[in-house]
Amino acid sequence: MILIGELSLWVALLMAAWSATVSFAGGATRRTDLADSGIRGLYATFAMIVLASLGLWTALLTKDFSLEYVAGHISSTMPSVYIFTAFWSGQAGSLLFWALILSMYGSIAIATSRRGNEELIPWATGTISAVLVFFIATTCFKANPFTRLDFIPLDGRGMNPQLQNPGMALHPPNLYLGYVATAIPFAFAIAALFSRRLDAQWLGIVRRWTLLSWFFLTIGIVLGMWWAYVELGWGGYWAWDPVENSSFLPWLTNTAFLHSIMIQEKRGMLRKWNVVLVVMSFLLSIFGTFLTRSGVIESVHSFAQSPVGPWFSTFFFLATGITIYLVATRLRDLEAKAELESMVSREAAFLYNNLLLVGIAFAVFWGTVFPVLSEWVTQNKITVGAPFFNAVNIPLGLLLLALTGIGPLIAWRRASLSNLKRQFATPTATGIITGALLFALGMRAPYVLVAYALCGFVMGTIVQEFYKGMRARQTIHGESVVMAFRHLVARNRRRYGGYIVHAGIVMLFAAFAGMAFKLDNDVTLKTGEAFETTDPYGHKWRFVSQGVSTSEPRDRQVIGVGLDAYRDGKRVGIIRSEKRAYHDAQGNPLFQPITEVGIRTTPGLDTYVVLAGVRNSDTAELRITFNPLVVWVWAGGFVMMIGGLIVMWPQAERRRAQAGYVAVMRPATVGSDPVGA
């Protein structure tokens, strides 16, 4: 099976090259035989990649240490589940995984979109296959997971214990599922540009796949935050690390697109901009992979030493160049079919929302690449860390939060003064009351006060929208509260699913703002000694050291300390933190020692204990941190996921029409495209 897998990878390369060639030829010559052959070539590529993947999984699960990849990423003592997930824990495996998802997505997208999209399909198939050629070729020539060692080691190196965590088992595949899904909208955008079929036809497909990408990126990002928080021990969940930033960038542009697409569906506007957003999401996914794979972030000089760096940069610039050419030569086809009537309308609010989302994306992108640029220009290394990203993004983020509440309150086309008064009264009052209450309770930090007032305002908007919708259903259909809620959401999933996502965003912002009150305590405790402090809510805490303990299980040395914790004099339990140093069978150290953080979670506060070091065998050096509202980050992520699922849930065309999203107007003259999707 391993040999079959290895060979299938090469056959997949041939198949993808065939598919790309005949699909583009079929698109250009309008020959359906070539187009059909291209589609079958794509399916065959998928089958071959599945075989290649099964080959690698077989090598991992049978612990074939003659393969460099297997020996480098697993060991004989690792749990099976992490041997399975080792598939994507290294560069070569993750590139193959990328090809596996892309060939699967591509096959599904083409198979489900063939009817009614005959002109687009050859170009879309060709684009997907061309992207596949790049990934498979990179895997074959530069990072082949089937490369053999010139000796067979007795055991493998194993996986970094920090990565042997459920969060890290699920985080990368979710991110990949999100990243790779941007390739499908990109392929259909390129297809629409090539074939000049830039009407509303391709929008439905593009929206569905962008939503899927957004959904998986959301899960992947939140899981990554959770892993960083519980496993790395530095006390937070987001460090503005280049790897984190590169996953955030396509999420931002996807979010912008999911809003601006509504303007195109409703009004036939922003057609150029939507193409740009679709392309940007894909290119940012590629850019993120390039950034993390090429080593360019560590130093501009390490770029050339990276095996895949030049390949990724060539592909990135090629894709960018082709897209710019296509957009530039088709500008007339992308003219808007309507114009904005008012600066106070929902369309305008979506425009402002896009401005902020793309503005944040630019700030994150700029901060991520600036060290490279600065080193190149000034020959001096600099650091662009959290203080920069926070300073630049917090004001933009707060404006975006405000728009999250404003957008749903404004009518399409032109909002009247009476409409504004009626819609804004309750949410604005909620926001003001929230801010005033917190001010009265002693909160003074301006950004935090504004953030919570805006959270109140947006929640006011969401509750009002649900209340009005349910009241209408109760009045018209005589439904109970529960049935009215159920039918309201079920019959208009995009709108109310979107509001649920907004509620998740509010929870996230509330949690982020809470971190402004984070308190760190740098503590040294001997056995039996106590440390007393006050948390951000004013509760008195007392931590008593239970002493340093050591143990030596089979594969590691463990040194730990338990703190008996009391809150306002009442015992809450023992919080234990450990350092673990893993070693191989000969006792040689493997990896850096890792931290096991002690966390006590309540809805309002996390008590986070990190053992930083031990002196004289009985003195523990600890960091005790109070992190307010962290649990709401995970809850907010979960709510966003639920909202995303509701929005994605298939809805019958008839119901979509009832909901107002299929506003097809009968054109008066031949050649004018219908508005909507």
């Binding site: 040999l3 020996a71 490369t147 060692l149 790897v243 114009e339 290394k381």
Partner: protein, 215 residues
């Protein structure tokens, strides 16, 4: 070309592709059967998306450099411990991780660089130096890379101003776009302008229905 001909042609095209693929597979199988293990392959732990994240703890233990200044005459501490910790949050640990000095020294006991930098900060605080003077001393020893954010001067000023300029420029563009959209040359909305085959009464009803749905 008839449908049947198209089917035959596409089948031929596929078969020729599949034949080429499987032919090369057979050749490759034979070649692989004779293949020796790759002598160039080395036992390495390659970089990966997940390992990049653990770059938080990549370390160069010899990266610490002494940052020492003589104590000021009649030195008086200008910083409290909380202010000192806040200062350490602004200094980038030089061990190769992505953390600041405070976070690194209170997270990883194997790092020897952040405790060394912390000792230098403590000595400078005891020597009566202000937060800015301590930061300046670190910058003169390590360069700008010791700061967690780029300095707001010279070329690095570009890092700070660019996002603001970009957002303002885009906002100006959007406002100009909105103004243009609302200029008098824009035809008023009406049946003729919209190109929709409907009477004024029908349009009014559609408009009312859309507004009701959206509100």
């Amino acid at each position: 070309m008839s449908d049947e001909q198209v089917r035959v042609l596409s089948r031929r095209a596929f078969l020729s592709g599949a034949g080429a693929g499987f032919g090369s597979m057979i050749i490759a199988v034979r070649a692989a059967a004779q293949q020796q293990p790759n002598p160039r392959a080395r036992m390495t732990h390659d970089s990966s998306i997940v390992r990049d994240t653990t770059n938080l703890f990549a370390m160069d233990q010899g990266a610490a450099r002494p940052v020492r200044l003589p104590p000021k005459p009649n030195a008086v501490k200008q910083l409290t411990n909380v202010q000192r910790d806040a200062l350490e949050h602004q200094l980038h640990c030089q061990c190769g991780c992505t953390l600041d000095v405070f976070t690194c020294r209170t997270t990883d006991f194997t790092c020897q660089v952040s405790p060394a930098m912390h000792r230098d900060v403590m000595a400078l605080v005891e020597g009566g130096y202000s937060a800015q003077e301590i930061i300046d001393a670190f910058v003169s020893t390590y360069g700008d890379r010791v700061l967690m954010a780029p300095p707001r001067s010279g070329f690095n000023m570009l890092a700070w101003v660019s996002p603001g300029i970009a957002v303002l420029a885009a906002a100006a563009f959007i406002l100009a776009f909105l103004r243009r959209s609302q200029s008098p040359r824009t035809a008023p909305l009406g049946p003729a302008a919209k190109g929709v085959d409907a009477t004024d009464d029908e349009l009014a009803r559609i408009e009312a229905a859309v507004r009701r749905d959206d509100e």
